[in-house]
């Protein structure tokens, strides 16, 4: 029998609260039916949550060690899925990110984030003594390049870039030398002009607009300007649920997915936004406690990757809605509409709980 005594219930409650907030925002974002969105967004998101609970249970029941053992298999499947996207994927907003499987539109790049964390944990946990040498970084880099390149080629700059902090934090925990990592980081930044040429036109535009949103106020800059107006006009207490004019009158593009935080900021104000950020913060701190308590290096690595991923997504998503970061398509965990994103974060939580639940065995 599986022992659920070590299960971190606080973490589960936090996820439920954040998800509930997300549903309320989604309801508000799709409230005005005269505008493109329909209310079924809430229903669909809720049903994905139900399915997601089963997935979570699966990833909770199976020992995470076994999951890590399957890391390379999943890695292969993940890369295959990314290939399929490039070959057959649907195109939305100029990017091929979705494949249809059994009637569902699935976004493999989302799942590849968690697969990447698992495979890195598998490799680094096994061979961390080699990391003292700079050549030890070679295999992790080789593991990183295929998913990174394939995701970037979709193109999905945001998701591809998430792999970088995960890579560095996991190597850091695994025992990589700080000077090596720094050198690698500098190399990465130095080679960014090459990536600039690989970027699609709209991505270049977004980065330029980040530097000056008013350069193209009706085009690429429109989203960020409207988002800042929404959040700023919310003030301390917000305009009230279902009463955000920027939201209800459709001035906010992408408000049910990447820009859902703008709805929070406009309708719930500074205090509401602060509360949501606080919830994320507590969640991450709980996760860090789990990592700290576990003695197993695989568990530590897995947990570190997941915490990094979640923290990075929360930070970049919110920062871009207030203009602190360029607009890259990164969803807000548990809140942005989308099944693949929701399931990926639920798997992440399941793995965290899994690590926390089983630490006593070692």
């Amino acid at each position: 029998m599986i022992d659920f005594n070590g299960l971190d219930k606080t973490l589960i409650i936090l996820v439920i609260i954040i998800f509930a907030i997300g549903l309320l925002c989604l309801y508000s974002a799709s409230y005005n039916k005269s505008i493109e969105l329909t209310r079924s967004f809430v229903l669909r998101q809720a049903s994905w949550m139900l399915i997601g609970c089963f997935i979570l249970l699966v990833f909770l029941i199976i020992d995470y060690q076994k999951i890590i053992d399957l890391g390379y298999v999943m890695y292969a499947i993940g890369l295959l899925a990314l290939f399929l996207v490039i070959l057959f994927g649907h195109t939305k907003l100029g990017a091929q990110r979705w494949v249809s499987i059994a009637g569902f539109n699935i976004q493999p790049s989302e799942f590849n984030k968690i697969i990447y964390i698992i495979v890195m944990a598998a490799y680094l946990g096994h061979t961390r003594a080699r990391l003292l040498n700079i050549r030890g970084l070679l295999v992790p880099i080789i593991l990183t390049i295929p998913p990174f390149a394939l995701i970037l080629a979709q193109p999905d700059l945001g998701t591809a870039l998430i792999l970088a902090p995960i890579f560095f934090s996991m190597l850091f925990i695994a025992g990589g030398q700080v000077k090596h990592l720094l050198a690698l980081g500098v190399c990465g930044i130095a080679s960014s002009p090459i990536f600039w040429h690989l970027l699609k036109g709209y991505q270049k535009k977004r980065l330029l607009v980040f530097l000056n949103p008013n350069a193209d106020p009706l085009g690429a800059g429109y989203t960020i300007i409207q988002s800042k107006i929404a959040i700023g006009s919310g003030g301390l207490f917000g305009k009230g649920w279902l009463a955000g004019t920027q939201n209800q009158l459709n001035f906010l593009p992408e408000r049910h997915t990447d820009f859902i935080f703008s709805v929070v900021g406009e309708e719930w104000g500074f205090f509401g936004a602060l509360a949501l950020i606080g919830l994320y913060f507590i969640l991450l701190k709980r996760a860090l406690v789990i990592i700290e308590r576990t003695t197993d290096i695989y568990g530590k690595l897995l947990g570190t990757g997941i915490v990094t991923m979640l923290a990075f997504q929360v930070f970049v998503n919110i920062a871009m809605t207030i203009g602190l970061m360029p607009v890259v398509g990164i969803p807000l965990p548990f809140i942005s509409y989308g099944g693949s994103s929701l399931w990926t974060t639920l798997i992440a939580v399941a793995l965290l709980l899994n690590v926390g639940m089983r630490r006593t065995r070692f």
């Binding site: 925990i173 700023g232 006009s233 003030g235 459709n250 991450l284 860090l288 923290a311 930070f315 920062a319």
Partner: protein
């Protein structure tokens, strides 16, 4: 240890987020709040009804009638072109016209576009029954000039505000596409007549489509005006003119209130309010006989003999002559080598000032004029109100011209010659006057020495206003009586030049004038007052190329006096 490092890093990132949110939502809240309001709120103005205009007997002259106008609301229009084609068919116009109207006048999805003005009631019913999506019939008040051409110059007309006016009036709530008074009372009293602008606040979505109305402020009606004009008298006078050009001023002798202000040819102000009558408008604006031109206050003409009472007054007042002083007329007057003729070359013989006025004898006035000198004549002309606008409450009034030595030196670069004085003595030469100035001059004799300020509006929104201020000219009663005596003889003497002005049962005094026109036939003048002993009204008639003032002009004046008597103005 390493976990602590990552934990600290996460804390820093979240602190950045909180700081960023605080900056956006607290420090810059006001700015973004304004921007969000600007995003969603649009103001659509509603014109308040313009004030009505009544004549002195409360007859409605200018009102507002409901006009059924067809509008299209782009946002409610179904995507297909079908609606517009059907609309065109029902209105009986080409579909292309409708498409063009929509395309040209599109400003915002919620802004109504005018397709056709003033459709008939049957078509309104038809459209209502058809229930075309995005098509609506709105009832708008449209200005209506009930008497059409009658008093058109005094009333004026409306037109779309032009750039200069907008620039000047922007601060007073005037907006682009507003209709404003262009001439007459409509222009001078525009700020009173103008309705207070109301508006609807609309909430719009990102495409500019109206979502709901946030509030409506009804426009307030403008203030009504009551004029001093008697529209029946005005109509009567205009009918006397047939198709001649000219002007008539009928004015209170002591008050300056204008009972009739006629300028012919005239125009129908209704034309300017209809898009489909554009052709007529351009016709009015370009016709060589200038129907838009208000001859009564803007037309500049030589005064001719109606100027003679001033020369007489100057002579008497300055003691160059007295009532018994005679000059002899042999039908002509020699000045050096120049010969100035009297209008009657048989000559009038010796005569005093009364007879000279009665006969309108040029030779008498040549001699009197020379005796008085240009300085005194010019001085008295100014005292009688010539050379300056009379201050009537209508725009575009002309000043006229009283020549003198200095003027001739500055403008003509020549010295003043005695011949100029001779010409000035009979109201010819450089002298230019407007019909209303002549009326005002005649009023000075009539009322015993006051220079009145003519006005046409006597009541604004129920409040009586006093616009006419009188100024004492300081002319002595003796002088005025002598001249008045002469003016009485003009009409009432068997041989008086203005005897045709006589009207039964009325005592009338006056002066005729025949002014040489630079081209064509002479202009005819008659200016007089009645009753002769206690004058109530002054009538000035001017007929362009009307020949001798003693003929038609005097006749018309007599009919006007008679009509004014019937209408109780005497």
């Amino acid at each position: 240890m390493k976990i602590k490092f990552i934990s600290a890093l996460i804390s820093i990132l979240f602190a950045i987020l909180v700081a960023g949110l605080g900056y956006t939502q607290i420090l810059r809240h006001k700015k973004y709040l304004v921007l969000s309001q600007n995003n969603r709120i649009r103001l659509v103005s509603i014109e308040g009804q313009r004030g009505r205009i009544y004549d002195r007997n409360s007859t409605l002259l200018v009102g507002n009638t409901p006009s059924f106008d067809v509008f299209v609301i782009p946002q409610e229009l179904e995507r297909s072109v079908d609606t517009l084609s059907r609309l065109a068919q029902m209105l009986g116009i080409l579909p292309q016209e409708v498409f063009d109207a929509v395309q040209k006048n599109y400003t915002a999805p919620f802004a109504h576009i005018l397709i056709k003005e003033d459709i008939i009631k049957e078509k309104v019913l038809m459209l209502e029954e058809a229930r075309l999506c995005g098509v609506m019939v709105k009832v708008r008040p449209r200005r209506e000039y009930k008497f059409k051409e009658t008093a058109s110059h005094a009333l004026g007309y409306l037109g779309e505000i032009d750039r200069g006016e907008l620039e000047r009036l922007k601060g007073y709530g005037y907006q682009i596409k507003d209709f404003v008074g262009k001439t007459g009372v409509e222009k001078n009293y525009d700020t009173y007549l103008r309705g207070e602008q109301g508006g609807v606040q609309l909430e719009v979505d990102n495409r500019g489509f109206a979502v709901r109305s946030l509030g409506t402020k009804e426009g307030a009606q403008g203030r009504d005006l009551t004029l001093t004009i008697d529209i029946r008298l005005q109509e009567f006078i205009e009918n006397l003119f047939f198709n001649k050009g000219g002007a008539v001023v009928v004015m209170g002798a002591a008050t300056g209130e204008v009972f009739a202000l006629v300028s012919k040819p005239d125009f129908d102000p209704n034309v300017f309010l209809r898009k489909e009558r554009k052709v007529e408008v351009s016709g009015l604006l370009t016709r060589p006989d200038r129907p838009m031109f208000n001859r009564a206050i803007s037309g500049l003409y030589p005064a001719g003999s109606v100027f003679k009472p001033i020369v007489a007054a100057a002579g008497l007042e300055r003691k160059h002559i007295n009532s018994g002083t005679s000059f002899s007329c042999a039908g002509r007057y020699n000045l050096g080598e120049n010969i100035f003729e009297c209008w009657d070359n048989k000559g009038h013989g010796p005569q005093d000032v009364r007879h000279a006025l009665k006969n309108s004898c040029n030779v008498f006035f040549y001699q009197l004029g020379r005796a008085a000198g240009v300085d005194d004549i010019a001085l008295f002309a100014s005292r009688f109100g010539y050379g300056v606008p009379c201050g009537i409450d209508l725009a575009e009034e002309a000043s006229g011209l009283v020549p003198n030595r200095l003027w001739k030196r500055l403008v003509k670069k020549e010295a003043w010659f005695e011949g100029d004085t001779v010409n000035l003595s009979i109201g010819q030469g450089y002298l230019l006057v407007t019909p209303i100035q002549v009326a005002r001059m005649m009023a000075v004799f009539a009322n015993g020495g006051s220079l009145v300020q003519p006005y046409v509006v006597k009541n604004i929104g129920g409040v009586d206003i006093i616009t006419g201020r009188c100024k004492n000219t300081g002319i002595s009663k003796g002088t005025l009586d002598v001249v008045k005596n002469g003016l009485w003889s003009v009409v009432n003497d068997e041989t008086g030049t203005g005897r045709r002005a006589k009207a039964e049962g009325l005592s009338i005094s006056g002066k005729t004038g025949t002014a040489q026109s630079p081209k064509g036939q002479n202009h005819a003048w008659f200016s007089g007052f009645s009753p002769s002993d206690e004058p109530k009204i002054v009538v000035t008639v001017f007929i362009e190329h009307g020949g001798k003032g003693g003929l038609e002009a005097a006749e018309i004046a007599g009919k006007i006096f008679a009509e004014a008597g019937r209408r109780g103005l005497l």
